[in-house]
Symmetry: C2
Subunit: 246 residues, 2 copies
Amino acid sequence: MRRLEVLAVEGLPEVHPGDDLAQLIASHASLVDGDVVVVAQKVVSKAEGRFRRLSEVTASAEAERIAPLLIAAPDPRFVQIVLDESVRVVRSERILITETRHGFVSANGGVDHSNVPGDDVVTLLPEDPDASARRLCERLRELAGVNVGVVISDTFGRPWRLGIVNVALGLAGVPAVRDLRGTFDDAGKSLHATVLAVADDLAAAAGLVMGKTNRAPVVVVRGFDGVGETGAGRDVVRPAGEDLFR
Amino acid sequence: MRRLEVLAVEGLPEVHPGDDLAQLIASHASLVDGDVVVVAQKVVSKAEGRFRRLSEVTASAEAERIAPLLIAAPDPRFVQIVLDESVRVVRSERILITETRHGFVSANGGVDHSNVPGDDVVTLLPEDPDASARRLCERLRELAGVNVGVVISDTFGRPWRLGIVNVALGLAGVPAVRDLRGTFDDAGKSLHATVLAVADDLAAAAGLVMGKTNRAPVVVVRGFDGVGETGAGRDVVRPAGEDLFR
């Protein structure tokens, strides 16, 4: 693989619950065989109606306790929604980092109030991002008549490094990782610990043109040589038992 | 920014200490204004002669204690070299994670024996990756007569997520992050916590074509709109006092 293109899909309208997102994408992008379609989680969640309203939530004592510990001093009902989406609190000093039901460790459990109107509504991560990716992928293949892969991405912070990067939450038709263990490097040595997180690399590459404010929530990566391989966003989650920082 | 290309630089020879890496790159790539040249740390370290020999190292008691705790059961002298490159051990169960003198938290402190011949020699990270990037950048601009940016990249593992991704160790002529705090999203809401790690995104995008075994240690990202901005790899290191996982 010697050359990739990373292309923003232009002119997509605002997405609403029940919209046929694949149809919107297929009608705004000229997809070709082997394309990877990277879709921001936010629009998938909007299409799937993954919203909650703060006004319909009652904060627990735990949410009331955590909220004032956080820099952003969020509404305790916001914290409650994060807790509802999470199986475990990883950190609740300054920022709230939790493990979601999917196993993702991220700020606010993927609950977010950016890019939705008003102060009452927040978006949640898709219920099952891999299933969302598979549905999108099948429908895109049907509509565009070409073999594509799908990555549903979101921006996550990282320990040790500043800033957020786009990572892969859900996948279809692309590998999660490339396991090079047992292959040999250019000096003929066996590679012991080389598992490349290619789906996250695809997401990060797309993140460069996605921006945050320029309404480019769908990006095509053209030239990737792994479309048709199988993978799942779940495969990128490090098993808790092997995780030194959970 | 609507379209990026990610291009492997083909045909580079094996790099040796003292080689003029910028000259090698300029003679194998047709650089244009605005290109970002992403260079794998390994070839920078080779050009700079950043090697050590296990046979010239004596393991301390600490290195002898740590080595058998690690899955790879490395030579204690390898552990000693890692400790010499590090200011602090972050984890030493199964894998050795340290904080390097630069502030990077990574496996084995960036010490590596892949892609170098024999069992005795290991490579170290560049002494000052930002300075290496600046030198490369200036010389590339001189040789190619165009305005380019440089990212020196390496593959790092992450907590919580499997696999390694390419990140930026040193930079010149490109921003480390894009700070969108205070700007507004498409719903008109102020973005509070949105600092995009663009240099890491550039590195990850390059990582897709770099591979590990196909000798493509230099990749050009064309179409990025930030060349000429200033940044440093050091700027991506989260200050220890703000880090919840150090």
